[in-house]
Symmetry: C2
Subunit: 208 residues, 2 copies
DNA sequence: GCGGCTATTGGACCAAAGTCCGATAGGGCG
DNA sequence: CGCCCTATCGGACTTTGGTCCAATAGCCGC
């Protein structure tokens, strides 16, 4: 498994459009997968590697915008580039507010699309990295016992062992034991690292 | 100086539009200031309290989009809501990519504009809070001597005093002295707080 | 009930951090 | 030339944090 090319998913009901987009995008070095409808795309297994989505806005069944909404609640974010023949302003604004990377109207310049794809893939890679980090940290947190979790929360507050013990109604000695286990389970080499792990849970997710 | 109402800055070359917008917006409880051109707005002193900008896209001289670009390099971010009579998709996409809160085409619903203003002001308040925090921290960092700054950087790495001393070619004892001064000047009560101050410099600014 | 996990603590001990004291030395400035 | 800031250390001491070994007790599942 070497690092393969990013995958561009194209969802468009027009077969000729799918064909021409496939030619254009694959010639730029991307892998391409096409779908004739939003439903077909949703039935497909979520992508594992770097990728982005090219959506036609107008489609029978779910529209591109509706697909975007449906994916907003999904586990990972997707980078979406919209293309449309009959776009209006409110449509494009809605798409962009929904986090779309770009919104192109036909006819568009090939290099504009490729540039948008590049940005979208880059965004996807960033998002994936963040998600991977967060879920990695969450996995470590889940290995903590309830008590360890409490101690963890107070340690990253900057409280002394003594104070933590008082707050939890246990001895300082016990705090030390839990604390050591927390450092071990969280794989933190110092308090500074531990604080970053704790803050990373919120910060990375919030940075949008 | 009590907490006064948020100020909505309206920039539009059409006097009748300015008048009707002023009526609408002030009736919703906002203070309103109008400008006939982008240049007039730029000549105006930057706002101190919560505010947002309503920009017409088409204007003689600098357009709304150009004003947005000009403000992008400014000290603080502005929350911008665009309104336009003849908007096209590429225009709206550009505005949204540039961080606009909304992009409305005339004729628009009054409540849509007021909702957009509300979101824009809320965003402005958030941004101002973040900027205030960052500049506060930066001010503290500036009071550090060069050596203290170096020690500061290494402490938040999680390094031990001994290691820091070795890295800087000074004794552990000296590190302690600097470290104590850093904690004092940065007003941090614990290493955890210090780490948050250090990380806050980057994180808050990056969260966009 | 036995084994394992969790939570709790004790003692001993070492390493690290923080706090007082004082000291030296170079640079910039009135 | 004194004065202050900065940077550098030393000693002495206390408080914290971390580690190792060992022990008790409750709970859960097989």
């Amino acid at each position: 498994m070497t690092a393969s090319a990013p995958v561009v998913f194209v969802v468009d009901d027009d077969a000729s459009v799918r064909k021409s987009l496939t030619r254009l995008i694959s010639s730029a070095g991307y892998a391409v997968k096409t779908f004739a409808s939003a439903r077909d795309y949703l039935a497909h297994a979520p992508p594992k590697g770097p990728c982005c989505l090219i959506l036609d806005v107008r489609m029978p069944g779910l529209t591109g915008l509706e697909l975007q909404e449906a994916l907003a609640g999904a586990a990972h974010r997707r980078s979406i580039v919209f293309i449309t023949g009959h776009g209006d302003v409110s449509m494009s604004v809605k798409a962009m507010k929904g986090g779309a990377v770009d919104f192109l109207t036909k006819p568009f310049d090939s290099k504009d699309l490729l540039a948008a794809i590049q940005r979208a893939v880059a965004k996807d890679v960033r998002d994936r990295g963040d998600e991977a980090k967060v879920s990695d940290i969450q996995a470590r947190v889940r290995t903590l016992t309830p008590r360890e979790t409490e101690v963890f929360a107070l340690v990253v507050t900057g409280m002394l062992n003594k104070q933590i013990g008082a707050a939890l109604g246990i001895g300082e000695k016990t705090v030390k034991v839990h604390r050591a286990r927390v450092m071990d389970k969280m794989r933190a080499g110092s308090v500074a690292e531990l604080v970053r792990l704790a803050d990373g849970l919120g910060v990375i997710a919030a940075k949008e």
